[in-house]
Symmetry: C2
Subunit: 386 residues, 2 copies
Amino acid sequence: MKISIKKDSLVTQVANVSRAIQSKATISILTGIKIAATQSGLYLTGSDAEISIESFLDKTNDAYDLTIEDTGSIVVTASLFNDIIRKLPEDTVYLESNEDNSILTITSGSAVFELMGQDGSQYPHLPEFDETNKIPLPTKLFKELIDRTIFSASNQENRPYLTGLNLTVQPTHLIGVATDSHRLSRRIIPVQIEESVIDFESFTIPKKTVTELSRIVGDDEDLAMVVGNTQVIFLLEHTIIYSRLLEGNYPDTNRLIPTTSSTDIVLNSEIFHQALDRASLISHQGKNNVVLLNIIDESVELTVSGNERGQVFEKIQTKSVTGENLQISFNPDYMKEALRSFGGIDVKVQFQSAVHPMLISSEEPSDIPHNELLQLLTPIRTHHTY
Amino acid sequence: MKISIKKDSLVTQVANVSRAIQSKATISILTGIKIAATQSGLYLTGSDAEISIESFLDKTNDAYDLTIEDTGSIVVTASLFNDIIRKLPEDTVYLESNEDNSILTITSGSAVFELMGQDGSQYPHLPEFDETNKIPLPTKLFKELIDRTIFSASNQENRPYLTGLNLTVQPTHLIGVATDSHRLSRRIIPVQIEESVIDFESFTIPKKTVTELSRIVGDDEDLAMVVGNTQVIFLLEHTIIYSRLLEGNYPDTNRLIPTTSSTDIVLNSEIFHQALDRASLISHQGKNNVVLLNIIDESVELTVSGNERGQVFEKIQTKSVTGENLQISFNPDYMKEALRSFGGIDVKVQFQSAVHPMLISSEEPSDIPHNELLQLLTPIRTHHTY
């Protein structure tokens, strides 16, 4: 391999690909990045066992200033390569491997690095896939679907299928659900998908895959998805993200969402968030991270007490309070994340009782069909001393 | 105590005072901040055993909007108080303690916090001092003296006197020296000090004291120093910093500074810094964090080799090279810190031999008398295989 390329282009794509790579991977070659020059351009690949990211820099794209003198491929330590190219002195980078691909020489200006490498043929092959049933996705809305749900996914490996985003594909809409069984986030977005390309109606994608996808894909970039039996592939403009799917039957979450309520409050999500932020300063000091919401005679009060460091009390500004009086306790950090997903708009919080989940939704439902966000949060049962 | 005050003023001064406080202090009351309201204003105090910081918010200063209804003092957990006041909803903060100063009530808008506290009389007393022999300091230059030397102070407690900044006070100049015995930084700044106020010619101030002083004092703020037998006091406009001095005889560092050289190179400190930054990416991978500088026939080359991850070679751009050829090895991180203290100007690096310290100084000495910065760095002895 012998190529030259514009530093900035290389830096950006190496950073994207490196997101898949775990520097402490037990399979030593997976700590590396694969750099492969072909007649058509430069492929960069990074992977852990779960997710693989491949970027392609097309030789015909003038923005890259890419010249390929010799083809070939080599694997070098990703973190070190990443650090080195960012600090090179000149705008152009020259990469050259020796005959047996055991050394990569990186030259820029008067700086010459020689990195130990392995031949690219040692690197695991990425799976083949068939683009026929490619599902186009509305990029910006799909990123929003990820960002407003994925925080509710579980971090615990005892039920692995809860550690991801469950996606249901319909011709008119996509439903994204994440839950750790204490809370649940559901975002529905409108799409137009030909029924013929929908092979797999519902599947669960690992948290890391969708989080990295959301970070890598630009808001205006084309995005499509290919779903297989055990894997999903996201096609970006210059990058392909391969990921395994999570096994296990995702629970039917529709039946969890309450359809009635006995108490409703309407308030600004940001104002409620700020009050919880203050109250959690005290709740974090105690053994139980819990706040109490006291809805009484159309007034809403937030309290943390019974803590050795102190207590806090705040009357919350609301738009309306209807229904029965209620005292309910919950984890303020979970409620803060749920509220943040509404981006500052007014929300309706609906309660059935002190032991049933709270439902948070937009106060003004969208005019667009199949455009909906809801958050569900289970209360914490406590014995109140007041 | 019962007062009201502008939130921003309180936040700023609490943050300053909190710099002295260690949240894991073993003396429990020292994890607290003392809040004391007197007829003249509000005193805030924080301390660890070594350094104490006291800020005073004067009632007559309109900027603070300070009203004092009842005097008194209370100690509350500093980190929690700090977090709470920053998140309060309104611009005005009300602080009120109960009769026995066991609870502090913090009110702002509809948020009411009650923090457990201790009576202010439990807090250790700050030492008395005599302002007669107050030494005025040029604030900006003195901060520069600190910032350009203190990184060379030792972090090792086996020779405690090396863990600080040694200051020598003369009527015309101040000399600041820090050394960990591997490297030495010396900054001399011009001053005008009456001989009569100089009681203690040379003393050593703990690293934390000067670092915090440099962060807290504004470039244009008045600054003065009072030196005692065992302590030094810095007087800022609204804040007093008390610190113990380090015991032990500081070495005579003048005799360490070489007066002759056999090889001199002149180069831009920033260009040299960047090349070392690159080379250290490789040296950090190996057991020994060391780079080799090869000065040969007016050319200067930087190399790291003998490392399992790779090697690097870079020819350094210089302004001039004079004297004998030389190979010398050193710690690139120490050299980077030394170079950074020159802020990008051209420097002269002077060598005696591969085993004598290197001297780094400005290429263009200052026109102003007693205005000088020099950095000394001991080489690492290695066996070169090339």
